[in-house]
């Protein structure tokens, strides 16, 4: 991806005619507006007061922008009868995401190394089994997982949720590292083996130092997926242990009196903020993960 980001390919034919150019630029611009519109509406709505929301329309600019709705969403948005705001759920999600991302990335790295540099008969079948693990519909495993968590006494806890995310993240991280290591010349490892270096030594001092790009890809991918998860959070946690997306959905669906749309929008923006920030800072790696997650590296 890195070379494709900067340079235009030879395919980039100049539409000679001005009409063609106008069509291309016009279409691109139109879709820029289409993709930005919901974000624009969310931000402006979150800065308005409820009377102004009722009086105006969704694209009108706030007359008197205020962060009051943001404060309410953070500190006192209601989930059912309780009104704790989203801050507690925010902290929950970070506490759960960090170990899940770390452990799954480490395991993925070592699995990817083993699958490419110390090959054994059937390595491709094993990888195929891992790969299908990326694409299982989670509906097919939530019932037994709920029971397994119960047996391990982890029902409804953040640790249980972190464990679930770690387990179902391993296929992805293994795939990322495997597809990255496969392009590293075998000779590098062979030479080190001749010199007497063992598996872990080679992994630690030869492979890991050249793995920075794929580590970033894996961390971003896992963080984004786990942060954005809803199904596992809704199935395996309840009450104050809920992760952010479950909390957001509960806030939006809590109806006591008039719905505070400005607070809903503020909460939604705050829920999306961590992954958006990562996307803005490291979009290149995010795209690489997307591409690697769907086609081989």
């Amino acid at each position: 991806m890195s070379n494709s980001v900067s340079a235009s390919s030879g395919v980039g034919l100049n539409f000679g005619r001005i009409a063609g150019r106008v069509l291309v630029l016009g279409t691109l611009a139109l879709f820029v507006l289409y993709f930005l519109a919901p974000l624009f509406v969310m931000i402006t709505t979150s800065l308005k007061s409820m009377p102004e929301i009722r009086a105006g329309n969704i694209i009108s600019l706030p007359r008197d922008p205020s962060f009051e709705a943001w404060r309410v969403a953070w500190q006192e948005a209601c989930v059912g009868v309780e009104c704790p705001g989203i801050r507690g759920f925010y902290k929950n999600t970070f506490l759960m995401v960090i170990p899940a991302v770390t452990v799954s990335t480490l395991l993925g790295a070592i699995n990817g190394f083993a699958l490419t540099k110390y090959r054994f008969t059937g390595h491709r079948l094993v990888f195929g089994l891992f790969m299908f693990g990326c694409f299982i519909p989670h509906q097919a495993i939530i019932l037994p997982m709920a029971r397994a968590l119960g047996m391990m006494d982890l029902s409804g806890s953040l640790w249980g949720l972190a464990l679930v995310h770690t387990v179902y993240g391993i296929p992805f991280t293994t795939m990322f590292f495997r597809n990255y290591y496969i392009s590293i010349p075998q000779e590098l490892v062979k030479a080190a083996r001749v010199d007497g270096a063992g598996f872990f030594r080679i992994f630690w001092s030869i492979m890991l130092p050249i793995s920075a790009p794929i580590i970033i890809v894996s961390v971003i991918w896992q963080f984004t997926n786990i942060w954005n998860d809803f199904l596992f959070g809704a199935s395996f946690t309840y009450g104050a242990n809920a992760p952010i997306m479950v909390a957001l959905n509960n806030i939006v669906n809590t109806s006591t009196g008039e719905r505070p749309y400005n607070v809903h929008m503020a909460a939604a923006i705050m829920a999306a903020l961590p992954t958006l920030v990562i996307y803005v800072l490291a979009g290149r790696y995010f795209v690489r993960g997307l591409v690697a997650g769907s086609v081989k590296g």
């Binding site: 494709s4 235009s8 390919s9 030879g10 395919v11 980039g12 291309v24 630029l25 691109l28 879709f31 820029v32 919901p38 974000l39 969310m42 709505t45 329309n57 969704i58 070592i110 699995n111 083993a114 110390y118 054994f120 491709r124 094993v126 195929g128 891992f130 790969m131 299908f132 694409f135 519909p137 509906q139 097919a140 495993i141 939530i142 019932l143 037994p144 997982m145 387990v167 391993i170 030479a191 063992g198 598996f199 998860d229 809803f230 997306m245 957001l248 959905n249 939006v252 809903h264 929008m265 939604a268 829920a271 999306a272 958006l276 990562i278 996307y279 795209v287 997307l290 769907s294 086609v295």
Partner: protein
């Protein structure tokens, strides 16, 4: 050089055999924890769901064997029929629109556009956002009282109506609108990567032969992108069949259960109505649909790779 040296050394000395044996099995040892976890939590659990689907389990699993009764019940449940019908509307529209728009945007972006990086980032940012956030935003935009409908009225289109989200016939189409918004950028990114990997010489040759631009795209570039099409469609199909969060956040499956998808049916049946056997049967239907698409796909990807290595 190094490879040769290793061959002579290990081949020559018998004392190396134990070390060599360990060296080869170390990867199996290292992989086994993950593999055991995978075997239990993916394959074992899928098997467990499959077994439960053959029992009369309700709130807790029981181990009677009642054959395929749950599947018979499933296919005679109106709510499941609605969910399947909705998927039959949602999936083709979502996949078709995302693929077509993604392709057009990728081709247009590949025309030496100066602001390409910025534009591409804007097209793709929805992929970084949760479906719950997307659903919340679109629910507000599609709100009949205060959203787009009101905007149209304010603009002078008196009596304008855009209330799909509360219309049982139309609610499923709001899912398409939001899902296409979310996933078009993904299709665009994959197509763009595909376009960038095409050898420019082929195209140059065609131009020298006097082929027009549309013709070059239609009869040279698009056929070369066939594997990319496959990737995009397979991944989008996978997304469509497992769609769950978006329905919860955007329509809540409503009005009534008119916009439920199979994944929502499964969740409701399992956790709200406590009919575990029936829920497992519906999960098996979802699993089989996805497996029918993904297993051949993964198999062909890996076989292709094996052929390249030889």
């Amino acid at each position: 050089m190094a490879a040769d040296a290793s061959k002579t050394r290990t081949g020559g000395a018998g004392t190396y055999s134990l070390k060599r044996y360990l060296g080869d099995s170390i990867s199996i040892i290292v992989l086994s924890p993950s593999f055991v976890v995978l075997a239990v939590a993916v394959y074992g659990f899928m098997g467990w769901s499959g077994m439960v689907s053959l029992t009369s389990s309700k709130l807790i699993p029981v181990h009677d064997f009642i054959g395929f009764d749950q599947y018979v019940t499933l296919w005679s449940t109106d709510r499941w029929h609605v969910a399947v019908r909705n998927l039959a509307i949602f999936a083709p529209l979502f996949i078709g629109l995302s693929t077509a728009l993604g392709l057009v945007l990728a081709i247009f972006l590949d025309q030496k556009i100066r602001a390409e990086n910025v534009i591409r980032s804007i097209y793709l940012y929805p992929m970084a956002i949760s479906f719950i956030v997307t659903g919340t935003a679109w629910k507000w935009i599609l709100n009949p009282g205060l959203g787009v409908e009101k905007l149209l009225v304010d603009w002078g289109f008196e009596g304008a109506r855009f209330d799909w989200i509360v219309d049982p016939q139309m609610a499923v189409f709001t899912l398409v609108i939001a899902a296409v918004w979310q996933s078009t950028g993904f299709a665009m990114a994959i197509f763009l990567a595909g376009l960038r990997s095409i050898d420019g010489e082929v195209v140059k040759a065609a131009r020298i032969d006097g082929a027009g631009l549309v013709r070059i795209y239609w009869s040279i570039i698009l056929p070369m992108l066939r594997p990319v099409f496959l990737t995009v469609v397979v991944i989008l199909m996978y997304q469509a069949v497992r769609s769950f969060d978006l329905v919860v956040a955007l329509t809540g499956g409503g009005p009534g259960y008119s916009s439920d998808l199979p994944a929502n049916f499964m969740y409701q049946t399992a956790f709200s109505r406590n009919r575990m056997g029936l829920a497992a049967a519906s999960a098996m239907m979802i699993l089989m649909t996805i497996a029918a698409v993904m297993i051949p796909y993964i198999y062909s990807e890996l076989r292709q790779e094996a052929r390249h290595e030889q």
